[in-house]
């Protein structure tokens, strides 16, 4: 319905638009709040934590949560709260870097295959089919095991297993738009094919890609933690949520639940937050919603 009058000031600032979206969907507000908290922890966490995350203190081993040790201590007497906060930086770096990598590579490959079709489409399609043919976590394990046990390789492995998801979304969206009027118009304006791809089609696919980014971000964190959990990836004593859960798992039976519980809950909240963020982000970057 074209009922809404367009006379009102069209220069809606991004801020007031964001406020509207949060007001329309409070869950988005919660997700953004959580995200701000995680981002803050990643940025300034190491400077403000009450204890040294690596210093062991055997006299205070396996303490339950208390005023001194908010989340308790582990078998070496390290403060779990400090370790959880400090770990957020490493986990965020892995998630953001791997998603940025796959966003650029997978997004570009997908748009190109949807737009050009033909051989580009066939090659990109077969590559992503090959990746999809493996159980994804096993593939990530294999890549890290083969390339070596470093943070860079975890990032690469996480990016590779997410590649087909980005390719498929970008390909489908680009394919719909390749004969759209505005693409023809861009051709008439003398744009080169590459410029049409990046300047005209890519920005229009951005909203749906943002949702994908947010969803895979949560998945990337889980994947990194999972690799560390089984002993690949980040090595102890570096604080990392997956390792901490793995270390705490053996103590649950003996009643020391807090060692695995707090990093686990943090991990869950991080994944939850990114999944919810997807909806909010889509609303924020879509100009059609800004009426």
């Amino acid at each position: 319905m074209s009922l809404a009058a367009t006379d009102a000031a069209p220069k809606d600032s991004l801020f007031s638009h964001a406020r509207h979206i949060v007001a329309e969907n409070p869950v988005t507000g919660i997700a953004f709040g959580l995200f701000a908290l995680f981002a803050l922890a990643a940025l300034i966490g190491p400077y403000v934590v009450p204890h040294d995350p690596l210093a062991s203190n055997t006299s205070a081993a396996l303490q339950p949560p208390s005023a001194t040790y908010w989340f308790g201590t582990d078998q070496l007497g390290r403060d779990i709260f400090s370790r959880v906060v400090v770990a957020s930086r490493l986990d965020m770096i892995i998630a953001v870097a791997s998603v940025a990598l796959v966003f650029v590579a997978g997004g570009f490959a997908g748009i190109a295959s949807g737009y050009f079709g033909g051989w580009t489409d066939r090659i990109v399609g077969r590559v992503s089919d090959t990746i999809m043919a493996f159980p994804l976590f096993v593939l990530a394990m294999g890549i890290v095991a083969a390339l070596g046990n470093t943070v860079t390789n975890i990032i690469i492995a996480t990016a590779i297993i997410n590649f087909p998801l980005y390719v498929r979304v970008a390909r489908a969206e680009a394919n719909i738009r390749r004969e759209a009027g505005f693409v023809q118009a861009a051709r008439l304006s003398g744009n080169s094919e590459m410029r049409i791809l990046l300047g005209h089609i890519a920005p229009n696919i951005l909203p749906i890609m943002m949702v994908q980014v947010s969803l895979t971000m949560g998945y990337a964190i889980l994947n990194a933690a999972g690799l560390s959990f089984i002993g690949l990836g980040v090595r102890p004593p570096t604080p990392e949520w997956g390792i901490m859960v793995a270390e705490g798992a053996s103590f649950i039976i003996s009643g020391e639940w807090w060692i695995a519980f707090f990093p686990g809950v943090t991990l869950m909240l991080a994944v939850f937050c990114f999944n919810l963020l997807g909806d909010g982000l889509r609303d924020l970057v879509d100009p059609q919603r800004r009426t």
């Binding site: 319905m1 074209s2 009922l3 809404a4 009058a5 367009t6 009102a8 069209p10 220069k11 509207h20 759209a180 009027g181 505005f182 023809q184 118009a185 861009a186 051709r187 008439l188 304006s189 003398g190 744009n191 080169s192 094919e193 410029r195 005209h200 920005p203 229009n204 951005l206 100009p287 059609q288 800004r290 009426t291």
Partner: protein, 577 residues
Amino acid sequence: MNIHAGNMSAGVNNMQPPLLEVRDLTVEFATRRGTVQAVKQVDLTLAKGETLGIVGESGSGKSVTSYAVMRILDRAGRIAEGTISFGGVDIGTASEGQVRALRGREMSMIFQNPRAALNPIRKVGKQIEDVLIEHVQAQPGDAKEKAIEVLKAVRIARPEERYHAYPFELSGGMCQRIVIALALACRPQLLIADEPTTGLDVTTQKAVMDLVVELTRERNMSTILITHDLGLAAAYCDRVMVMEKGKVVETANAEAVFRAPQHAYTRKLMRATPRKGVTLRDLLPEDAAPAAPAPTAPVEGAGTPLLIVENLVKEYPRQTPTSGMAGLFGIKGAAADPFRAVDGISFSVARGESLGLVGESGCGKSTTSMMLMRLVDPTSGRIVFKGEELSAIPAKRFAGSKWRSRIQLVFQDPTDSLNPRYTAARAIADPLMQMGSGLSGKALRAKVEELAGLVGLPVHLLDRFPHQLSGGQKARVGIARAIAPDPDLVILDEPTAALDVSVQAVVLNLLQDLKQRLGMSYIFVSHDLEVVRMLCDRVIVMRTGRIVEEGATEAIMAAPKAEYTRELLASIPHPPI
């Protein structure tokens, strides 16, 4: 409804209670900026057997009124005030079950896009059967027989064969007949037709409208025809109701509306409707300031040919259907005779001339314009522009050619042709940035504002996104973009087909002024002969990829030689004046 109009409705027995009576209807929509009244205090009465036309431009509330009658408003909308009484039932307060029983059986609706209204993966015969069985008009045993009867009733040739057709195998007009068949299957008392022929060719429009009128008369049904086309409403309706911004401005006998329109808005609408014997200037409202005669640019070498097209052919491969495993592995069937979308046409365009390219959908006019635009490569033939053979440059590399800026296009759909993420200013600047005008920053902005001024787009709208602009404003952005590189030839691909008549009048005048001022040549692609007559010096009539007739516009309109041109002219609905 006022008593005055009631008396004027000819041939209606005033003693009989009306079939539909709407009083004081107000419909509200909840939006982000508060409540918007889409329909305000509308009264209407419809007698049995009567045909009422609701005419108005987009946003006038004509569709919303009919949705309220069927009670199919979307969730944000609600009937705020007023009563709707249909055959004694109060639609506003009746239970959902009661209304559902009425919909389909007592009142039925046909929509604008017939293809979208049909299930694409079910045979049309089966779809008719579904409706018949659902409403207990047929048993599974005799459903097929009855469905074929229904197909016969809507005058579909070879109904036994068409029974097995899928919607995509049928033409738009044929699909609309199926939709009409579905709507009329249960012999409802009221048929609401919401722009039933928009998007169909004129000859098809005539056939479909004739059918609707014939069927409703045969069954003594009442019809509400919702349309933006005054001519169509006048030709097929007993009474016409004109709406503007949610209000009824005039209700009267169809002939009276055209003989002596009472309301200023009706007069404006009538003026803007292209018709016989008027010029482009006549379409503008009376009170519009007489535009200063546009300074005429002397056309360099006027009359000499700018573009010569010789024996242009475009073939598309046609594949025989593949079956089973071969299809799965992408092995294509043996190539059949290729389909010739454009079948050897030759013509020329002189400098400063406007040439009309007229024909119905599928006649090859769009393919021709795509080839002239060098977006598509011709199969054979030559396109010579300013003495240079453009067909020698492949379409893929044409974007980088120096000739790209010389030929530009104004698109049919102003919404689809603007990038939703570019502001109006960015869209207009795009060709200037890509084609080496060397402008940037302030100089570029100044040029964009100058272009906006030329097309009459207020400068403050330049920073808006397409969805914040009206249809007419978007059309102006599209025109500004096309003239930005100062082209010699502009192809206009039905530039006003998506616009309201009053906006169309303004845009057509704008195009005419621009042509004089900038000394361009136009190729105007259209299905509307009346519009072409006003804008073009010469016209080419196309059918199935070939040129049927060519000549001076006035001569062809006055005395068409080809049978097909005569048929086209006869199909244009004319107001009875």
